[in-house]
């Protein structure tokens, strides 16, 4: 099945990458075998798919992933992507062999091969994606893995800087591409390539077509290092040479032109396409060719020549002609072969001599004749010498510039520019070869030069052989594959062409001759003896400076904006949040202008009104008293909570009322326990309030008051509107038949939405553990360490004897309450169990029951004191939490025995001898789990805080006893 093979091709490298990451650091051979095997397997798989692609045209694999959103894992291979995939995997195999001998034993190879394989997988993903968004995802992954590979030697500054620049440029391009692709898919009516490629008229007629074009061009041009984004590629040359050979000549930079070619049927054919794509290509072609002539670093020359050749491909794509597209695809393959082999030669020279500086290297052909021979042939292919592959695609390019279907002046400028670029290409190729391999053998090199091991030459030799083979017998060597690739893009419009070496004495051949002559002259007169390292004329124009200046400006601008628009102070941030929320809500509400009442309000009840007069007063009192009278504020907050609880009762929510009431008690106890650790705050101590605090308070009152009014208005508008039949009726109708319970709220919690509740109690448990953990390292402020006044006085009243150990009851004023509270404990336990058990059919449930028991326990602590309670009663709240969570999970798992999904309720009916009918349900177990967890979590939090006073006290009295 072809689909599975496609999947394997894309995911095998990722699998290999994962494996490679875990191989020991020094296992160079194991790593290389692994990576080589993966690359070889991918190559063979792709080769084996050739007959199917040729027969079927397109192979597809669709795995539904999020079908409702129209997102599938979709792979698609046609002739063009087959050719590209073969290029990626085959080149990967050669580079792995080369890298095995290039990397030094000191380099950590797992990192190299892991990222290398990840890159290969991403690149295959880009090429084989059948879905636009999925392709963009793989596209981003190539940027990321390329970043990691450029920065492989991260101890070098220029490697880090180059990697950052490459990531910034290609990453920004990726964002633009993503936007363009989203628009394109939206216009085309689908994101899979088949839909998009068929939507040419629709896309080009759409008013947003120029935006789509610009965004996609930004992505593609930045990736392919085209003018004006070309500057990152030379800096990416700080990567290890295998990376440069693979990513920055053969594959990744080709992703941009791949995309342009892929989308050529949809986007090309317009003037905008011609100017944007063709223009960028022409500028890169000429400019980078010029710059390449003056580079001092071998890899620098190759980097600029790569930009120039990619410019040639981009220009061809921009010409809006089918034949030019054929030439572009042809040149993509040709360039990959000769440029990768040149990079490998540069790497060999660097490896064996220790330098790549053209000013120092010379005469290496005496020391390393094989390397020199290979490099000479590859460079000749780059210059476009006949009988080599570069010549053929260059001739096709020249022919296209001459026979272009454009206005006259463009038909004159383009051939001239093309010839000029040809001149540059010949000149820099000549200069590179002459400087490095000819002349006197350099004496002062870091290492004495010699031939590298045979295996390092092999990949380069194979590539050169391919150059020659394609150059001499093109129709045999590449004809069918090229036809299949271009046929896949162009469909029925594919033009007829012949891949012959000799087309007669025509204009393109004359242009080639002019380029050779001009290049040789230029080299002879200008470059051969030139020792200056600066680039004439264009020295000032450097994209890097522009890039760095704009990065600095962005950084400082962001800092300034942050200082202006934001604040370090929490109060200011809160104010901003509320002000923005308020403003946004007002903006939204303004144009609506809704009427108020459509549903008759219920008549005013005096008792309810009175309740909220008190409740409102309590709320205001909290706001007023919270600064200086904390105790009063807590009491008032309790009043507001009570009013809330009563409101729940009033409006038919008994469960909420119970929960609110018990939470209220626990919260109050909690905050009371915390009060002791807060600093004393007295109205008399604070300085006189100035005008500015008063103004600030007024401003806050204004914001808070408006927000409150807004909320009140909003809820009033909602309440006076008829209710919408949401999902409520469903739960009411199905609570008894499906959930087996009468209390619908409880059935929702433990049955219908049991998974939510399960998540919620998990959160509760985590919070309790966090509180516990935070308090274990608690360091209170020094002034709150001594015992508070009340405790000192109480102790003084009871002591001097102190509390007798083993006493049945606390002595002193607490004796009487202690008796009552001890009697209360079993009763409270009973009550909590009662609420737990009735919960399914009447108000109650695990939450309420748990909170009641926790309250009863903490009451013992409050009255008897921590030491007294814990000497008699050990509660292990951590166990309660664990058991509760496990029990709830087990109750859910139980469903698996009945073959039902997690948390499906299971019911068991039986008859017991004494009590008669027994009805058991797994939701009771679940609710019991909730109950135990709530008890554990609440007690743990309260006891953890309560323990603090004890510990501090202890620490002073009994040194070093840590709890």
């Amino acid at each position: 099945m072809a689909g599975m093979e496609l999947l394997l091709v894309v995911f095998l490298p990722f699998l290999g990458s994962l494996c490679a990451a875990f191989v020991p650091t020094n296992a160079r051979n194991a790593e290389a075998w692994l990576a080589g095997t993966v690359a070889l397997a991918s190559t063979l798989l792709i080769l084996s798919l050739y007959p199917q692609v040729e027969a079927a045209g397109v192979l597809r694999l669709n795995l539904p992933w999020a079908p409702l959103l129209g997102l599938d894992i979709s792979l698609r291979m046609d002739g063009f992507s087959w050719l590209f995939a073969l290029l990626v995997s085959g080149m990967g195999l050669l580079v792995v062999i080369y890298a095995r001998y290039y990397m030094s034993p000191a380099d950590p190879v797992p990192r190299f091969f892991a990222f290398f394989l990840a890159f290969m997988g991403s690149m295959l993903g880009v090429v084989l994606s059948g879905h636009l968004i999925q392709m963009v995802m793989f596209w981003e992954m190539t940027s990321l893995s390329s970043f990691m590979l450029i920065a492989y030697w991260h101890h070098r500054t220029e490697a880090r800087r180059g990697a950052r620049m490459a990531l910034a440029v290609t990453g920004a391009g990726g964002i633009a591409l993503f936007g363009g692709v989203l628009l394109l898919g939206h216009i085309a009516g689908g994101y899979d390539f088949d839909t998009v490629l068929a939507a040419r008229e629709r896309v080009q007629a759409h008013p947003w077509y120029p935006v789509v074009l610009v965004l996609i061009a930004l992505g593609a041009l930045s990736k392919s290092a085209q003018f004006p984004f070309h500057f990152w590629l030379p800096h990416a040359m700080s990567a290890p040479t295998p990376v440069s050979a693979y990513l920055h000549s053969a594959t990744m930079v080709k992703a941009g032109v791949f995309l342009l070619a892929r989308l050529w049927p949809v986007l090309a054919g317009t003037d905008a396409w011609f100017w944007i794509v063709g223009g960028a290509g022409l500028c890169s072609l000429v400019l980078a060719g010029y710059l390449a002539m003056f580079q001092q670093d071998m890899k620098g020359v190759l980097a600029y020549s790569t930009i120039s050749h990619l410019g040639l491909i981009t220009l061809l794509l921009g010409m809006n002609s089918e034949l030019a597209l054929v030439a572009a695809v042809f040149h993509i393959v040709n360039h990959a072969t000769f440029k990768a082999s040149l990079f490998m030669a540069a790497g060999i020279v660097d490896h064996e001599t220790g330098t790549r500086d053209l000013g120092r290297l010379s005469g290496l052909s005496r020391a390393m004749p094989f390397t020199a021979a290979l490099a000479v042939v590859a460079a000749a292919a780059m210059a476009g010498v006949p009988l080599l592959n570069g010549f053929l695609s260059k001739e096709m390019f020249f022919a296209e510039t001459v026979f272009l279907d454009r206005p006259d002046w463009q038909r004159i400028v383009l051939p001239l520019a093309a010839t000029l670029a040809g001149v540059f290409s010949v000149a820099y190729s000549l200069r590179l070869i002459r400087r490095v391999f000819f002349g006197e053998l350099a004496r002062d090199l870091p290492h004495a030069p010699h031939e590298p091991t045979r295996w390092m030459l092999l990949p380069s030799a194979l590539l050169v052989a391919a150059c020659v083979l394609v150059g001499i017998v093109p129709e045999f060597a590449i004809g069918p594959y090229l036809r299949m690739a271009t046929g896949a893009i162009l469909g029925a419009d594919a033009p007829a062409y012949s891949l012959a070496i000799w087309h007669g004495l025509n204009a393109p051949l004359l242009m080639s001759l002019a380029a050779f002559g001009g290049g040789a002259l230029l080299h002879g007169f200008l470059l051969a003896r030139r020792r200056a390292t600066a680039v004439p004329l264009l020295e000032a124009i450097d994209g890097r400076h522009l890039f760095e200046a704009s990065m600095t400006a962005l950084g400082s601008g962001a800092g300034r904006a942050l200082r202006r628009l934001s604040s370090q102070r929490l109060q200011m941030q809160m104010l901003l949040i509320f002000a923005v929320a308020l403003g946004g809500a007002l903006l939204l509400a303004m144009p609506l202008g809704t009427g108020w009442a459509t549903r008759p309000p219920q008549p005013l009840d005096p008792a309810f009104t009175l309740l909220w007069v008190v409740g409102g007063a309590c709320a205001l009192a909290v706001a007023w008293q919270a600064k200086y009278h904390r105790f009063a504020a807590i009491a008032f907050a309790g009043g507001a909570g009570l009013a809330t609880s009563l409101t729940f009762v009033w409006f038919s929510a008994p469960d909420l009322a119970l929960t609110q009431l018990s939470v209220e008690v626990v919260t109050t106890v909690l905050i009371l326990l915390g009060l002791r650790w807060l600093p004393r705050r007295d109205e008399h101590i604070a300085g006189p309030a100035g005008a500015s605090p008063r103004l600030r308070r007024l401003r806050d009152i204004l914001v808070a008051g408006t927000s409150g009014l807004g909320l009140a208005a909003l809820i009033y508008v909602v309440l006076t509107r008829p209710a919408i039949d949401g999902i409520g009726p469903f739960f009411i109708e199905h609570a008894l038949p499906q959930g087996g319970g009468l209390n619908v709220v409880n059935v929702i919690l433990v049955d219908f939405r049991g998974f939510d509740t399960f998540g919620e109690i998990t959160v509760l448990g985590i919070v309790a553990l966090t509180v516990y953990a935070l308090l274990r390292r608690f360091r209170p402020a020094p002034e709150s360490i001594p015992l508070p006044r009340q405790q000192r006085e109480q102790a003084a009243a009871v002591a001097p004897a102190g509390e007798p150990p083993g006493a049945l009851l606390p002595v002193g004023v607490m004796m009487l309450p202690a008796v009552l509270v001890r009697l209360l404990l079993p009763l409270a336990m009973l009550a909590s169990l009662f609420f737990l058990l009735r919960g399914h059919n009447a108000p109650g449930g695990g939450f309420v029951g748990g909170l009641i028991l926790a309250t009863a326990v903490i009451l013992q602590y409050l009255v008897g004191g921590t030491v007294w309670v814990e000497s008699r009663l050990r509660i292990h709240p951590l166990y309660w939490i664990a058991f509760g969570l496990l029990l709830a999970a087990a109750a859910g798992m139980g469903a698996a025995f009945a073959g039902a999904p997690f948390l499906t309720s299971q019911v068991w009916h039986g008859v017991l001898p004494v009590t008669g009918d027994l009805h058991l349900s797994s939701v009771l177990l679940f609710d019991l789990g909730v109950y135990m967890l709530v008890v554990g979590a609440t007690v743990l939090m309260l006891v953890a805080i309560a323990h603090q006073s004890l510990r501090r006290h202890h620490d002073k009295a009994v040194t070093g006893e840590a709890r």
């Binding site: 929490l570 109060q571 104010l575 509320f578 219920q602 008549p603 309810f608 909220w612 409740g615 409102g616 205001l620 909290v622 706001a623 904390r630 907050a637 507001a640 909570g641 009013a643 809330t644 729940f648 038919s652 929510a653 909420l656 929960t659 939470v663 919260t667 909690l670 915390g674 807060l678 705050r681 500015s692 009152i701 914001v703 808070a704 409150g708 909320l711 009140a712 809820i715 009033y716 909602v718 309440l719 949401g726 409520g728 739960f731 109708e733 008894l736 009468l742 209390n743 619908v744 709220v745 929702i748 959160v763 509760l764 309790a768 966090t770 509180v771 935070l774 608690f778 360091r779 108000p843």
Partner: protein
């Protein structure tokens, strides 16, 4: 009734937001409590206000949804109340720890400069 209910939410939310804007940690905790009361009531109000219609099924009313209050907002609010308690506890402990480390109960962990 609706107007009183709306008033209740408004006044608690207003007081709560005012306290959230104050500089002392205790004020912020109290403000959070009040605001969570208001928000819980607000969500609860989405099911509309009904008296004597608790969503506990009995024989008289049968399973006619029109005779019961909407149980969904109630279920939501019930969990919100419990989680609200957990958040208050966590916040309290964090603030206590911050006070212990910084020596002040100001929300920024340092006293503002006096002019």
């Amino acid at each position: 009734m609706e107007i009183v209910f709306a008033f209740a939410i408004g006044i608690m939310a207003g007081s709560g937001i005012y306290l959230l804007l104050r500089p002392r940690t205790f004020q912020v905790i109290m403000g959070l409590s009040l605001l969570s009361y208001a928000v819980n009531l607000f969500i609860f109000g989405m099911g509309r206000l009904r008296t004597g219609a608790a969503p506990v099924i009995d024989m008289i009313r049968g399973d006619d949804p029109a005779r019961y209050a909407d149980p969904v907002p109630q279920a939501l609010v019930l969990t919100a109340i419990v989680i609200g308690f957990a958040v208050t506890a966590l916040l309290l402990v964090v603030l206590l720890a911050a006070r212990g480390l910084a020596g002040t109960d100001h929300v920024d962990s340092r006293e503002p400069e006096r002019p």
